[in-house]
């Protein structure tokens, strides 16, 4: 991981460096990640080993997938705050239904609310033009409410984590976390969709200039509905993965991941105003946040101080990063 070796060396170094980073916004992110890992290693020599890397990856993956939802919605100028609730719902339903149901049926039942919420989000944003922030916040609250009602009905049956989710969530194969079997295809699919498909192109176009997209014959509601359904389904899948990792179903299981997922996308260089960004940056963003969390944990700070520091670092990193890549 010696990325600094690829940097250009000649005379007007500062400007060349800046131009280089502006053209490859992922480079400064990777550098930042390496620096954080190095700090960690200095503070606690020997902590960075194979097991630590696998562990970090395991916790970064659910965050990275949810941040993928944010990346895609943010490209159109939207946001999806319902991912936390959707992930929690799919996890909770899975854990409770698996008790009496066939795994396949349980899976379908678990993904049903995801599909539904995605559809409602998409129609609300695309057809009725509700602001995505409000729309997804609203469906998120409604979903949480339904989940509480649902919990009462299954309180007697108990919950269990199916083996294949255990395997996926925490298992290792040759030292690699099994979650990668899910994450790698998902990441490849997202990157491919954004860069090489008509749909991905429309996400950028709609976020950049909705009116221009309309004049080119793009129907906004179609794009947005498909987008929020995809986002919700990804969140549902994340929920299944996450329950295999955490192993304790609760009503607020994935809720703490929502705002970090937005932060990961923003740190990764996706503009919250739409039209600019990509998934590779987001993945690094999710890794940075995960490493940062570890770093703050080993500092033996009280929880309050840790959060304050976390907030400041996120703000600082985002501001600095935007300055680097947008100065052209």
């Amino acid at each position: 991981m010696t990325n600094s070796a690829t940097l250009p060396q000649p005379a007007p170094f500062g400007r060349r460096l800046k131009r280089f980073m502006a053209d490859r916004p992922i480079i400064p992110l990777i550098i930042l990640l390496v620096i954080l890992v190095m700090i960690l290693q200095i503070l606690r020599p020997g902590i960075v080993n194979e097991r630590w890397i696998a562990n970090t990856a395991k916790f970064a993956i659910p965050l990275a997938i949810l941040a993928g939802c944010q990346t895609m919605t943010m490209l159109t100028g939207g946001i999806d705050l319902s991912v936390g609730t959707v992930a929690t719902m799919s996890a909770f339903i899975m854990a409770t239904q698996i008790v009496n149901q066939d795994p396949a049926v349980a899976c379908v039942l678990a993904m049903l609310p995801a599909l539904l919420i995605g559809l409602v989000n998409g129609i609300g944003v695309g057809v009725f033009r509700v602001h995505p922030l409000i729309m997804t916040l609203g469906t998120s609250l409604i979903g949480t409410g339904f989940l509480q009602v649902y919990q009462r009905t299954v309180i007697a049956s108990g919950a269990r984590i199916p083996d294949f989710l255990n395997w996926l969530g925490t298992g290792l194969t040759y030292g690699f976390p099994n979650a990668l079997f899910l994450f790698v295809p998902v990441a490849v699919l997202i990157v491919f969709t954004l860069n090489r498909t008509g749909f991905g192109r429309l996400l950028y176009a709609v976020g950049d200039n909705e009116h221009a997209a309309r004049l080119s014959g793009v129907r906004y509601w179609q794009v947005v509905t498909a987008l929020y359904v995809i986002s919700s389904l990804l969140a549902g899948i994340t929920g299944l993965l996450y329950i295999g990792l955490i192993k304790a179903p609760s009503l607020s299981l994935a809720e703490p991941l929502v705002l970090p997922s937005v932060a990961a996308a923003v740190i990764g260089g996706t503009s919250i105003f739409g039209g600019r960004g990509g998934y590779m940056g987001t993945i690094i963003g999710a890794l940075i946040l995960t490493v940062l969390t570890t770093l703050l944990t080993i500092l033996h700070m009280p929880e309050g101080g840790r959060r304050i520091l976390f907030g400041f670092i996120v703000l600082f990193v985002t501001a600095a990063y935007l300055r680097i890549i947008e100065d052209r």
Binding site: H211, A212, S216, R219, R276
Partner: protein
């Protein structure tokens, strides 16, 4: 102090008595040598305007002549680079709208100026307008039962404009400045407004009246100041037959150029016309903007649309492009009636729209290639993987066709204005649209690119495609069009074959004047008829 007198500058029908004191005294407002530059562009070079007490003074000029810049300077919205403004003989620099107001100069702009979320009364308080006189004026202007507690947002546009006027009248300004005051008004309200304006002049106050309607100007105004290319080219008394002279002044030396262009263009790339119309529009209606528009557009034809600003051309293009739904009338494509509810319907019918404002049509942060290829992925069945090789081929052939300078790789926002405009057109060349609606495509781009766009439009016509081409620069008509449709007040008022569409003829038609006798003389008629408005069309 009332005494009958006849003065040389206002022999008018309709005016009976006026304050004689007014007409012999010094100008109320006197601006001379006003200049204003925006960067390298001179919006005003040497404008002057002198308004006598008690006169209704028309301010005239073609699109881009500098009317609105002059108005903004007079009302303190922007500051002049040079020039002197005297109000009642005293040097004044109207530093802000408030200062202009204190000096007795009050504008009523085209856009309603009431704050939408406040009620009428609160709006009055905001500007310190006395309520009772306001109410009196509102009644006077033909709205007997206004509820001043109504929120401005809920009041129809036409009424809002009248309220704006009443609000201005209520503070009794010395000089009232009206910008296209009657534009959005129904006939009965417009009548009342004109009546009040006329009385305003009779009572010794002055009005600066900006309008595209000669009918109103000749019924109302005493004198007119004509601007051309940022300078005042003349001040004339309004009398019967003066329209011709004003049109001539607005056009200036440009008349000579066009006949040459006409002779040249007529021989280039003859259009491959056939008899079936590609697009036929019948009795199109839309709100207060389009009343009755009918025309045909043939295959292989470039039809020009000429209109003054705000005569309904924007709405016409939007309706044809599927952006807004017309209230009445029919549109037929290749003989089959169509109803567009979204631009994608129009695109499917082969009709593409190139808006005048590039920023409306381009995703500025995306690449040239993505922008050109955007229509390809619009339909859900095209959302899958992009066929990169085919796309690159189509796009690069369109780029080559328009000679877009893509040295600035990457984002469209790094291209020059002319190249950006080319991208908006290239998109539809790549998509092989059969009909292209070009709305003022050459606005604000360099001469070289303009020439290329003219050439391209002719080539398209030569390939059997049809183009509807709105332009605000009349000389372009001769270079590009086969036929010209003139729209005025939401109606097609005239249609010219290109041979007859010289600038004076177009300008007259655009102002709603009947066709003069000169068409009999033919295309190279460079005679200046003294006054032939009475001649039968």
């Amino acid at each position: 102090m009332r005494r009958a007198s006849v003065t040389y500058c206002c022999i008018k029908t309709g005016h009976t008595t006026r304050d004689p004191n007014a007409l012999t005294s010094n100008p109320l407002l006197d601006a001379t040598g006003v200049a204003k530059n925006y960067g390298a562009v001179a919006a005003l070079r040497n404008a002057s305007l002198s308004v006598l007490p008690g006169e209704v003074h028309a301010l005239m000029g073609a699109n881009g002549a500098g009317k609105s810049t002059l108005v903004k300077i007079l009302t303190g919205a922007i500051r002049a680079d040079a020039g002197r403004i005297l109000i009642r003989g005293e040097v004044s620099d109207v530093r802000s709208p408030a200062a202009a107001r204190r000096a007795g100069l009050l504008p009523v702009y085209q856009e309603p100026a009431l704050i939408p979320d406040l009620n009428v009364l609160s709006n009055l308080r905001l500007t310190g307008t006395p309520v009772e006189p306001f109410r009196a004026w509102v009644r006077e202007l033909g709205i007997p039962n206004l509820d001043i507690r109504e929120t401005a947002r809920d009041i129809p546009l036409a009424v809002l404009r009248v309220l704006d006027l009443a609000r201005a009248l209520a503070v009794e300004p010395d000089v009232l400045l009206l910008d296209e005051m009657t534009a959005a008004l129904p006939a009965n309200l417009a009548e009342k407004v004109l009546e009040v304006v006329r009385r305003q002049g009779d009572s010794g106050r002055s009005v600066i009246f900006i309008s595209h309607r000669f009918v109103e100007i000749s019924a109302l105004c005493d004198r007119a100041t004509v601007l051309r290319d940022g300078a005042t080219v003349g001040v004339v008394d309004i009398e019967p037959g003066i329209e011709e002279k004003i049109v001539e002044m607005m056009l200036g030396a440009r008349i000579e150029k066009t006949s040459v262009a006409a002779a040249r263009m007529a021989n280039e790339t003859p259009a491959a016309k056939d008899s079936h119309p590609r697009l036929s529009v019948r009795n199109l209606q839309l709100g207060t903007k389009l009343h009755d528009v009918s025309f045909d557009l043939a295959n292989g034809e470039v039809a020009g649309v000429v209109a003054l600003e705000g005569q309904g051309q924007d709405e016409l293009f939007a309706a044809l492009a599927g952006s807004i739904r017309p209230a009445g009338g029919t549109i037929a494509v290749d003989g089959a009636p169509v109803k567009f509810s979204h631009p994608s319907d129009a695109i499917r019918a082969g009709i593409a729209y190139v808006p005048g404002d590039r920023t409306e049509a381009l995703a500025m942060q995306r690449s040239v290639r993505e922008n050109i290829a955007l229509p390809f992925s619009a339909a859900p069945r095209k959302w899958g993987p992009i066929k990169a090789r085919r796309e690159r081929m189509v796009v690069s052939s369109a780029i080559g066709r328009l000679q877009i300078d893509t040295r600035a790789q990457g984002e469209v926002q790094r291209l020059s204005g002319g190249n950006q405009q080319k991208v908006t057109i290239a998109r539809w060349i790549a998509a092989d649209a059969r009909t292209i609606l070009c709305f003022d495509p050459t606005r604000g781009i360099d001469v070289g690119t303009k020439q290329e766009i003219y050439k391209l439009l002719r080539e398209l016509a030569g390939l059997g495609k049809s183009v509807l081409f709105y332009t605000s620069e009349l000389e372009e008509v001769q270079r590009v069009c086969d036929r010209v449709i003139v729209i005025f007040g939401g109606r097609v008022v005239d249609t010219f074959p290109v041979e007859l569409a010289d600038e004076p003829a177009l300008m007259r038609a655009a102002y709603g004047l009947p066709r003069g006798a000169r068409e009999d003389v033919g295309i190279l008629a460079d005679v200046r008829p003294a006054s032939d408005t009475e001649a039968a069309p």
